[in-house]
């Protein structure tokens, strides 16, 4: 909390240019990857690339890299709570089994229902 903490760090436009080019390249990559059949991992790759892009925006465009630790702590706390929200809820739903012992995706359930009704 010392007040001589730092003078404002100015990011030069050349850095911004490098970042935007990387972002555009990653956008191309994510579209390309979507057309490759990776099965369940398509979404993993898509989210990984999106997170990489978001990280670049936060660190450089939003100057988080050059921010005081307080600001970084706030950002990390936000990401942590978001991870709790998504992680805890989805880990429940994705592993859920209904009263017939059928796994949750309803598309499978509705296929089985007519057969059970006879």
């Amino acid at each position: 909390m010392s007040e001589q903490e730092h003078s404002e760090h100015i990011v030069p436009p050349a850095t911004y240019l490098a970042i935007i080019l990387t972002l555009l390249f990653l956008t191309g990559t994510t579209i390309w990857a979507a057309f490759v059949n990776l099965g369940r991992f398509n979404i993993v790759v898509a989210l990984a690339i999106a997170t990489l892009k978001a990280t670049l925006v936060v660190l450089f465009f939003m100057h988080a890299k050059y921010s005081p630790k307080r600001t970084k702590l706030i950002i990390l706390a936000g990401i942590f709570w978001l991870a709790l929200l998504l992680g805890m809820t989805l880990s429940d739903y994705i592993t859920r089994v209904d009263y017939r012992g059928v796994r949750f995706p309803i598309s499978q359930v509705s296929q089985q229902l007519p057969a059970q009704r006879g």
Binding site: I10, V11, T30, Y93, P105
Partner: protein, 245 residues
């Protein structure tokens, strides 16, 4: 009253004052993350449960328009970042130029979004009584903007999805509700952002932002980049589900 950088009593230095403002903006942005996070969660659950319908819905979106808008929005983040830099180094004309560029790119985004939305209305893809995911396949004349090979592929995809999910039309509406809800809220944020940019432009044309005081440019910049990040996630989540078929 023009607040052009006087030091308020509760701060020791201008720097500390600006850091506090930035910290406050970040806390606001974290509440926005939570706000969008809840919607993303609803999306994720529905996508998990009704995956075939979500994949079918996603394949009826225009990847060209969506991809183009992604590039536009990323570019607008770049021009915004350069506007912030201009204000930090005191290049007063450049601030206005880059703010104007950012606004222009924002409006290009709105224009493309308008085209996309109106196509969805014409294609009967807006959740409600008239919703019919098979509309374009059954009425090619009603969808002049989708060409024949695309329709052939769409027809095949939709038939497969229908085989996997007999209630495809109902569940595809969940997908389109997510689409309109998420892109609509994102667009609302952009409208607010564009309003703030006009307000900044007014200030920069009056020459109010200096290397000593440019807090509003910096904070609106943070907001604009945040809206960009939301789109960085929305694009793969909405446009790129199961494209590889």
């Amino acid at each position: 009253m023009h607040r052009t950088g006087e030091l308020y009593g509760q701060f020791k230095t201008l720097e500390q004052q600006k850091e506090s403002a930035t910290l406050g903006m970040w806390i606001f942005l974290i509440t926005e993350v939570m706000f969008f996070g809840g919607i993303m969660l609803a999306y994720a659950l529905n996508r998990h449960v009704y995956f075939p319908a979500f994949a079918a819905g996603s394949n009826t979106l225009s990847l060209k328009l969506g991809g183009f808008n992604t590039v536009v929005l990323l570019a607008s983040s770049f021009t915004m970042a350069v506007a912030v830099w201009s204000s930090q180094v005191g290049k007063k004309t450049l601030i206005s130029i880059f703010l104007l560029l950012t606004i222009t790119l924002g409006f290009v985004f709105f224009g493309v979004k308008y085209v996309e939305y109106s196509q969805k209305f014409h294609h009967h893809l807006v959740p409600g009584k008239k919703f019919d995911i098979f509309y374009c396949v059954n009425n090619p004349a009603g969808c002049p903007d989708v060409d024949a090979p695309e329709l052939m592929e769409e027809s095949k995809l939709l038939d497969e999805a229908k085989a996997a999910d007999p209630d495809l039309n109902a569940h595809a509406q969940l997908y389109y509700s997510a689409y309109f809800g998420m892109t609509g809220l994102h667009a609302l944020h952009m409208v607010i952002g564009a309003g703030l940019l006009f307000w900044l432009l007014k200030g920069s044309l009056a020459g109010r932002f200096t290397p000593q005081w440019n807090t509003p440019v910096d904070l609106v910049g943070l907001y604009w980049h945040f809206v960009d990040i939301v789109w960085i996630y929305l694009f793969p989540l909405l446009y790129l589900i199961d494209r590889h078929k």
